[in-house]
């Protein structure tokens, strides 16, 4: 009697869950903090056009997005870096096939206080500053002041991108690391606030966060190249050396609702939203 009741219960619960899954009209999007504003802007516009569908966007960092995609707690992962081999292997183990879609570009601005006289730096100088080899502003033409290095936490795709493309200058065999004296702040906004108040500080984040309280440094690939301001034009033309693609990742080729949303982000309207949120469109 009891057994029968239990089996009935299980069958009916299973039925309900299947029903719920098939009748589902919501998407969970998780990942990169850099992309949260963009994701939300997309979701708002999309839901305006499709009122019966619901899209939830949360941040947490690119790594968080991949963890959720792998554990199937989100449908789309936003990421400001490529997926790592380790993560692909783990996903395969759990039966998830990460599928990459490039949706926008982002220029990484290196920022200092407007009171800081330094205006331009090369990638090489940046690498030496952030790895702790240059410790005083006077070594790069500034005042005699100790450099305060601000970085994002390790859960940030921006942190990983900056390490691989500036500190290690795209060399996969390089072992360069952020100096352990770097202050690790938990958001781009925290870095922006500290830079605004501290003439000795230097930090980096997506160029959408630069306001008139910070000064974006002009960056050159090497000593022989010209120094370039981070703006949309220079990122599109590829002149600005620290820019990166932004991705959405889905489990396998997008289908159904997820496909509809991904197509929307790549549409003309979706790419206009990219420009409005201070990122760079790919089309």
């Amino acid at each position: 009697m009891f057994k029968k009741l239990l089996s009935n219960l299980i069958v009916s619960m299973f039925a309900i869950s299947v029903f719920a899954a098939s009748g589902k009209n919501s998407i969970q999007i998780k990942g990169s903090d850099t992309m949260v504003n963009l994701g939300q802007a997309w979701a708002e516009k999309y839901m305006e056009k499709n009122p019966i569908e619901f899209i939830a966007v949360t941040g947490g960092g690119s790594g968080t997005g991949f963890s959720s995609l792998i554990s199937a707690t989100c449908d789309i992962a936003m990421s400001s870096r490529n997926i790592k081999d380790k993560e692909i292997a783990l996903a395969k183990q759990k039966g998830v096939n990460p599928y990459e879609i490039k949706v926008a570009l982002d220029g990484l601005a290196v920022v200092v206080s407007p009171k800081n006289p330094v205006n331009k730096l090369t990638i090489g100088e940046l690498a030496q500053i952030f790895s702790g080899k240059i410790t005083n502003w006077k070594e790069v033409g500034g005042e005699d002041r100790k450099i305060v290095i601000l970085s994002r936490e390790v859960n940030s795709g921006t942190h990983v991108y900056f390490k691989e493309h500036v500190l290690r200058n795209n060399d996969p065999s390089s072992k360069a690391e952020f100096t352990s004296g770097a202050l690790m702040l938990s958001s781009s906004q925290a870095i922006a606030d500290e830079v605004a108040n501290n003439p000795a500080a230097i930090g980096y984040y997506g160029m959408g966060y630069v306001s008139n309280k910070q000064k974006a440094i002009m960056v050159a690939k090497d000593v022989n190249s010209e120094f370039v301001v981070p703006n949309i034009g220079n990122v599109v033309s590829g002149k600005y050396p620290i820019s990166r693609p932004l991705f959405l990742y889905t489990n396998g080729q997008p289908q159904g609702l997820v496909k509809k949303f991904v197509d929307f982000t790549l549409s003309k309207e979706g790419q206009e939203i990219v420009v409005k949120t201070d990122f760079v469109p790919i089309k």
Binding site: G60, G61, G63, T64, F66, S67, I70, S71, K86, E87, L90, R145, K146, I147, V148, E153, V154, N155, S156, V160, K175, E177, S180, G181, A182, L183, M184, L185, S186, A190, D193, E194, N197, N198, A200, A201
Partner: protein, 287 residues
Amino acid sequence: MHKLKEFIIEKLILICGLTSIIFVLLIFFFLLKSGLALFKTINIGAFLAGKNWYPISEPGEFGILPLILGSLLVTLGATTISVPVGVACAVFISEIAPVKLKEILKAGIELLAAIPSVVLGFIGIVTLVPWVKTIFKLPTGLTALSGSIMLAFMAMPTIVSIAEDALYSVPKSYKEGAFALGATRWQMIYRVMLPAASSGILAAVMLGIGRVIGETMAVMMITGNSAVIPKSILEPVRTLTATIAAEMGEAVVGSEHYFALFAVGIVLFIISFTINVTADLFLHKKR
């Protein structure tokens, strides 16, 4: 019938009592299971005494010595500030303050305990951090000292209320005896009340320390989080708790980094367990 009812209620209460212990045990076993997995690949000595924390590099470095020292430094700073102030406050409330003021002070301290730590952290960022930077002429105000001051505020309610309880439970006859022998008020407090309540006050201090070492949000916001071995309290530090909170989101489930964070959790658990047991010993000594 009555007996049955009695029996059922008794057992229900017993189960409720046991659940808390079961939860603690379950949490501990979960921590152990996930944390010890790290030591299959990483030497425990390199973990505890290693000076570099680069968890996402290939291969990762998992040395938590800077984190342990960071936690201890912030805790030490907070204790140095909050213990004298907290104990003095407790003495004032229980021995000196007139009844009305006493009620106001007690309510105020309870209110202090009710402020969420993220709010204190935020207040710290906008007020304390710039002050510390200008007063000590530092390159940045995100330092262990800022964290210590903010945490002292958080430990204060615990210390004051428990120390006040301890002073309150000193028999009245002690006090009367001291006065009868011609002691002044200060002599009575200093020579009679404080020694008589000492075990309770020590317990208050230990519980305050326990509160500080486990605190996460505020320290993460204002200590700068750089994983270097601190040379002075005016430098940024990274604490054990902030490391777990900041990195758990990124750690891929089942990776070395993930296990390392649980191992950090074990270290933290051991530290706060020791502190709580010590506090308990002091409390029981009193009885």
